[in-house]
Symmetry: C2
Subunit: 386 residues, 2 copies
């Protein structure tokens, strides 16, 4: 496999972007990324998206987007793996360039969710779960996460209040990210008083959906396009793994097997241990997913991740900064696009372009994107060490 | 790029498979392909599908399918590019193995369409066209193809009757394919009397939708798993190209630019000319698409493809056998799965396993899969010449 690097990034603000169509949103992110890389087009486009068939009556996003950004003719497909669609598109682009068949690839991801009624969105999000054995029995996606969180609190003795700092930290970091959906801090008291969505999950455990798009340009490391200007960030590790789609079918519903498997692979590929990760963009769709991700990736002992939050090890100055630009909780969670926002943020940190949220001397950044209730997990390690 | 080969194939019968769930259909094809390759699992799964969100309330097919076939843990994503989803999944698997990151890949494709009401299916198929500029104005997918066919007949002076042999040939070939949806011949008279769907397209110009799944196992050519038993068929060329999603935005709506571009690339990769292609599995969703595909790939002059049908050059004994196992017209068109049926059929021919439909001494087989009204076209050349 030839080594590949990211030489351009782009993102839109995550919001209720009612004034932009799906193609405008995706196009804005892609054109920004191409401009960042001093390119006008690319050979192939890989676009992650989960909801557009229902929310926008539009599939075939490949051709739809490529034409819009002025790259008519280029190879262009859509990738879907529920909430991990964004990083799946990034990995598909990485493999295409690594194979030698594609020289300049765009990995993009876009989601436009807020035009649809909420009930419809909830039903459509549930297509990430098992239609026969979960959804038909009435459980929603928040419901599945609530069952997991309830069991976790019971098993390891945590109170709901102990999860507060995952959300407080994310909101603190989101304040300085212009692309973030929320620019406000929250308090422990606010967290504790937050209304219940599905016990024990409250509003402030949960990330908000939104409209947004992000993109990255991927080329071979030895490509002539790379100059000092491009500030190339290397893909040091890329791996994907799956678990059962239904949570009840797992031996241990409190362990993200696919997170563990994909993390082990990227550590081996990058030749580093978890200790050397300088920042971690994790998938904090709910505070319970933040906890399980930290444990499966080797950053906390089983059942002990809330302690990292309580002791503030996850802040920008802590042992392992997470959600450095707001995470899913404050940056927002446009489901199929989230994975590429994570990649863009890791690149910003490794380039030293993270502004007020800059992690000093960051060398290795990790991003982990979770599809379904842990059924499809994709992990990347990026580095500025050539 | 390291060379890759197909060492296993599997397919279900295309029908109204009401007794099988989506996962059973996909699983039947994948398990048959794994068995054909003497394998029990694979490293990564790439599944093409267009309709499952609407037709089966199920997305996240990656994890859904991997768990079902006993490969829990393996990387697994879904690829969508409308009717070309099947070959897009095959190409993604080819690139993943070519990159060196994946050693055994399953390319699968599945579609379960006939549980849904017809009007819903028509609406959902239209998500392959431009939602804003085509579908919102009321045109269906058949309607778009009818507009193209009308213009083609006007421009080049053909009568509807001249297209008959595309369908007659497909039905002749489907008779001996156990997986085909239809096992009956049709006549010129029957074609001419066929009821109009959308002028000038009649019932016998159009391929039928159906439920079905197909799969192929892809490994590096130098892989230890390959033995004489495996009868490896090499991927000699793989390319994808796009065009505008909206037909009216094209300079020439009678020319499949993306077919021409992807065909040129695979000829160059395989080091052959169109003359050396021994069989061609084309995308005869409608007889007009069969015509345009033959012209764009260099098998007929512009506007002259119907002559190939009239002079029977496309039969099993002709200059260029097409739709050798029935094509979309008689084998059936489970939209997102069709591309992999085409690959499976090319492999059958190159292995000498095509039974009564065997093309003698076939060395190079081509498959072309069209997404949208020509917006996303993926072409492969396979060979048994090592």
């Amino acid at each position: 496999m030839r080594k590949v690097a990211v030489i351009g990034i782009g993102q839109t603000k995550i919001a209720e972007n009612w004034d932009k169509s799906m193609r405008e949103l995706a196009g804005d992110a892609i054109l920004a990324a191409l401009q960042d890389a001093n390119l006008s087009t690319a050979d192939a486009f890989f676009t992650g998206n989960m909801m557009s068939a229902a929310a926008n009556n539009q599939q075939n996003l490949g051709a739809y987007i490529t034409d819009w950004v002025g790259s008519r003719g280029a190879e262009s497909i859509r990738i879907e793996s529920a909430c991990s669609s964004g990083s799946a598109a990034f990995r598909a682009a990485v493999l295409a360039v690594a194979s030698g068949e594609v020289n300049i690839a765009v990995a993009a991801a876009a989601e436009k969710m807020t035009d649809s009624p909420g009930a419809e969105t909830t039903a459509y999000l549930a297509t990430a779960a098992d239609a026969d054995w979960e959804v038909d029995h009435g459980v929603s996606f928040v419901g599945l996460n609530a069952l997991i969180m309830q069991r976790y609190m019971h098993e390891y003795g945590w109170n709901h209040s102990d999860f507060a700092n995952f959300s407080i930290n994310a909101h603190n970091n989101g304040i300085h990210n212009p692309s973030a959906m929320f620019h406000m801090s929250i308090s422990q008291e606010g967290f504790d008083r937050s209304p219940t969505i599905c016990e024990p999950i409250t509003l402030l455990d949960a990330s908000p959906i939104g409209d947004g798009a992000a993109a990255a340009i991927i080329v071979p490391l030895d490509n002539a396009f790379i100059s000092a200007d491009h500030n190339p960030i290397i893909v040091a590790g890329s791996a994907a793994a799956s678990d059962t789609i239904a949570v009840h079918a797992r031996k241990d519903p409190l362990w993200l097997y696919a997170a563990e498997q994909s993390a082990k692979q990227v550590y081996a590929q990058a030749g580093i241990s978890p200790r050397e990760i300088d920042l971690f963009e994790y998938h904090d769709a709910f505070t319970i997913m933040a906890s399980l991700s930290l444990e499966a990736c080797g950053f906390a002992e089983r059942g002990q991740a809330p302690r990292m939050a309580i002791e503030n090890e996850i802040s920008l100055q802590g042992r392992l900064p997470v959600a450095t630009m707001g995470g899913l909780k404050a940056r927002g969670h446009p489901v199929g696009a989230t994975g590429l926002f994570q990649i863009v943020e890791v690149v910003q940190q490794l380039r030293g372009q993270a502004g007020a949220n800059q992690i000093s001397n960051a060398r290795f950044g990790m991003a982990q994107n979770i599809g379904g209730s842990g059924s499809n997990i994709i992990t990347h390690i990026m580095t500025n060490v050539i």
